[in-house]
């Protein structure tokens, strides 16, 4: 079986330059890219640059460690499994502690090893040999003022995987929750069909059967109205799994999570002017005269990614904008929708979460969707 071993290598400052390459410069550049990657801007290009830099760091590390008397230690073939365990339990902390990075400049050693120790302790693996070896190595590197590289080695460890007990396994596999029924009616209109689809998914999810709502190719007004219905419907709050026609799986959508506002509370808002906001720029130019601004810039959203990634981008962007709106006071928005299902989903997911946050407060945000029907726009149900 192919396995990865990680070798820790301590590189003294004076040994950092070789073949006109300076390890410190490469590490600094890679660190800057790590910062930029957190902003999720031009991610693919940044990832490509990061990969090139990491390749060079590893190449240089290997060259230096061959030619100099360099201290190194192997963390064995189980170290990667430990990292996976930590990553599964604490994904955010794992990222900020740079647990999976292959280099650590001298000035970050202290901070990084403390984060590592804290995470391994929390994960209950603080006493593992690999953890102690790594901690000890980093501590020695701190004392000697070295930089640390974590270089991979791919080996085949000729280990036989444990035999799977087939009979028992087949039984378990066949008893996995799975839908074994058929759809009986398909003559409903689009509204009823999506409602039925969501009801069926809720029923299956409650039974533990994997299922998800597929909103691709469904008109954006239908999605918005039916989502409104389920968001404001009483029931057990839950997250509705969502997939798209390209097969990508989006962040689930919260439903049964809001109570309709009382009429007088909404009426009180009506003294404020209605602000016309378009959903996305560059899609319906006839809207340009009618609206004050667009919520999303087409350039930022239509990036040719999967539908779920587009949904996520729209969601994150909206999550950034709503707190700003909240700080600025009361808003009544006529939201002119421009289609594109993933953006509709991302937007309304963020809006629902924002409204959940504001549930205990008097209504300060009212959003009325506007749907284009040929020559006129029609109001959707109000979100507040």
């Amino acid at each position: 079986m192919m396995k990865t071993t990680i070798w820790l290598v301590a590189i003294p400052d004076e040994a950092c330059v070789m073949e006109r390459l300076d390890l410190r410069t490469l590490m600094n550049r890679a660190l800057k890219i790590e910062q930029r990657l957190k902003k999720k801007v031009d991610e693919e290009a940044e990832q490509r640059r990061y990969q090139i830099l990491c390749d060079r760091i590893e190449y240089l590390g290997n060259q230096i460690s061959i030619s100099e008397t360099i201290e190194s230690v192997s963390l064995g073939t189980d170290y990667l499994d430990l990292l996976l365990r930590i990553q599964k339990q604490y994904p955010e902390e794992c990222l900020s502690a740079r647990l999976l990075a292959n280099f650590c400049p001298a000035h970050l050693l202290e901070k990084q090893i403390e984060a590592f120790e804290s995470l391994t302790k929390r994960a209950g693996i603080g006493e593992q040999k690999e953890v102690r070896d790594k901690t000890g190595f980093y501590r020695r590197a701190i004392k000697s003022g070295c930089h640390v590289l974590e270089l991979p080695e791919f080996i085949s460890d000729e280990e036989e995987a444990g035999d799977l007990v087939a009979g028992d396994l087949h039984q378990k596999f066949l008893s996995l929750p799975m839908n074994d029924q058929i759809t009986t009616s398909n003559n409903a209109n689009a509204f009823i069909a999506l409602r039925n689809q969501i009801k069926a998914v809720i029923a299956q999810v409650e039974k533990g059967i994997p299922a998800a709502v597929n909103v691709s190719d469904i008109a954006h007004n239908v999605i918005t109205e039916i989502l409104h219905e389920f968001v404001y419907k009483s029931g057990k709050p839950m997250y509705l799994p969502v997939v798209y026609g390209d097969g990508s799986k989006a962040r689930p959508f919260p439903i049964h999570c809001l109570k309709p506002r009382k009429d007088n509370a909404i009426k009180a808002l009506s003294v404020y002017p209605l602000l016309n906001v378009g959903m996305m720029s560059g899609r319906h130019h006839e809207l340009d005269d009618l609206i004050k601004f667009y919520f999303y810039r087409n350039q930022e959203i239509s990036t040719g990614k999967t539908a779920a990634e587009t949904d996520e981008t729209a969601y994150r962007k909206a999550k950034e904008i709503f707190p700003v709106i909240h700080r600025e006071g009361i808003f009544r928005i006529a939201f002119y929708q421009t289609g594109f299902q993933p953006v509709v989903m991302g937007f309304y997911r963020a809006l629902t979460e924002e409204l959940i946050k504001r549930e205990k407060l008097p209504p300060q945000l009212e959003l009325i969707p506007q749907y284009y029907f040929g020559d006129y726009y029609e109001n959707g149900k109000t979100w507040a």
């Binding site: 999976l100 596999f173 759809t183």
Partner: protein
């Protein structure tokens, strides 16, 4: 079996769909959506296996089949038409993001599951519950997909284990293979030859998770290197009017197995095959087997890890070479050519001493890694 009348009616409906498709999409240079009817003709050279017309039904979130005509050409394996048709229907159902339910319209043998598909299901031991209603349920689809993919028992058990552990759905594994991201032997190498195949198959590691990403990249590159040898051995060149042509459906009768302990491939053939990429002329004859240890190594890695690989080869020899009918090979990319001559001579000497043939693929590490990144990227965008 369908009556002549049903077949003729089906052909008429197929023609109608082809015309509509031409008018609505080809002539307008437009691409159809998942929810548009799309006609497909599955053939090899001048032999038609199946005619299909499908669309994703938005209302019911299932795959709707309006035409399903299946042939059983006698010169191919039994039920080959049904295999082709069902393989496509299952992959399309998965790709469209629906529930995996497949529904046959009244135009298909009066609205039942086609008889050839029922036969195939019986062969695979899958009982279809709604044959005369014309439905295949999501659970039945799962079992059919897994049966049709053709994985070895060992790999199938591992796929089931991963599904039971909630790591990856069997549909996704099957789609990655049937959809052409990985060939069957490549997928088996990944599934059986690594500790966390679900991570590689789902491309779960981002480049900034350097250790995990490199591990996936290495596993993928090695699987692709093995796949390159599979293709080379399977390829048969036919001559037509003195010109060499490649036949898309004629391959060498080769059996390919995988030994996960050594990450080695075992080939047996019923006819004589020229063994490629070695210095001497050797044939793989009937009754013989070749065992190939696959290692995707750069020139510096070959120098660094050769002694470890040699240890592995010695164990491999002890396991497989009981007599002269087994030949052992060490497969590496052409980066080997950049290894210093003196080192190459030493390596050759040691391999000769063990009776192992050095096999140098025309692929370089750079091209293998490029292909691996491409496949990982495709795998990531495949439905979850």
């Amino acid at each position: 079996m369908p009556t002549s009348e049903e077949v003729l009616d089906g052909l008429e409906i197929f023609k109608k769909h082809v015309k509509e498709y031409g008018d609505n999409f080809r002539k307008r240079n437009k691409l159809p959506k998942n929810y548009d009817f799309r006609p497909y003709r599955w053939c090899s050279r001048d032999i038609v296996f199946s005619l299909l017309v499908v669309r994703h039904n938005r209302r019911g979130n299932y795959l709707e089949v309006d035409v399903c005509l299946i042939a059983n050409p006698p010169q191919y394996v039994e039920n080959s038409g049904a295999r082709v048709a069902l393989g496509f229907l299952l992959s399309e159902a998965y790709k469209c993001g629906g529930t995996m339910e497949i529904v046959f319209s009244k135009n298909v043998e009066g609205g039942r599951v086609p008889a050839y598909i029922c036969d195939l299901a019986i062969d695979m031991g899958v009982k279809l519950k709604y044959v005369f209603e014309g439905h295949i349920t999501p659970l039945e689809a799962r079992l059919l997909y897994l049966g049709l993919a053709g994985f070895s028992e060992k790999a199938k058990n591992k796929i089931m284990k991963m599904a039971v552990d909630g790591l990856i759905s069997p549909e996704r594994v099957c789609f990655l293979m049937m959809g052409g991201v990985w060939s069957l032997p490549e997928a088996e190498s990944i599934i059986l030859g690594t500790g966390h195949p679900e991570r590689t198959l789902q491309s779960m590691s981002e480049p900034e998770d350097r250790h995990l990403f490199l591990n996936d990249l290495m596993v993928s590159s090695t699987a692709i290197l093995g796949g390159a040898l599979d293709r080379k051995l399977l390829r048969v060149e036919l001559t037509d009017n003195g010109k060499i042509i490649e036949s898309e459906d004629y391959e060498s009768p080769l059996s390919i197995e995988f030994d996960p302990v050594f990450f080695a491939k075992i080939y047996r053939s019923d006819t004589e095959l020229i063994i490629p990429w070695i210095n001497e002329n050797h044939l793989l004859s009937s009754g013989m087997q070749m065992v190939v240890m696959v290692r995707a190594r750069s020139d510096s890695e070959v120098q660094k890890y050769f002694l470890k690989d040699l240890d592995g080869l010695k164990k491999l020899i002890a396991k497989y070479r009981k007599d002269q009918t087994t030949m052992i090979f060490y497969l590496i990319p052409r980066d080997y050519e950049d290894v210093p001559q003196s080192v190459k001579e030493k390596i050759q000497e040691q391999l000769d001493g063990e009776g192992v043939y050095l096999m140098i693929a025309p692929e370089s590490m750079a091209s293998l890694n490029k292909e691996a990144i491409h496949r990982l990227e495709t795998g990531r965008r495949t439905r979850q």
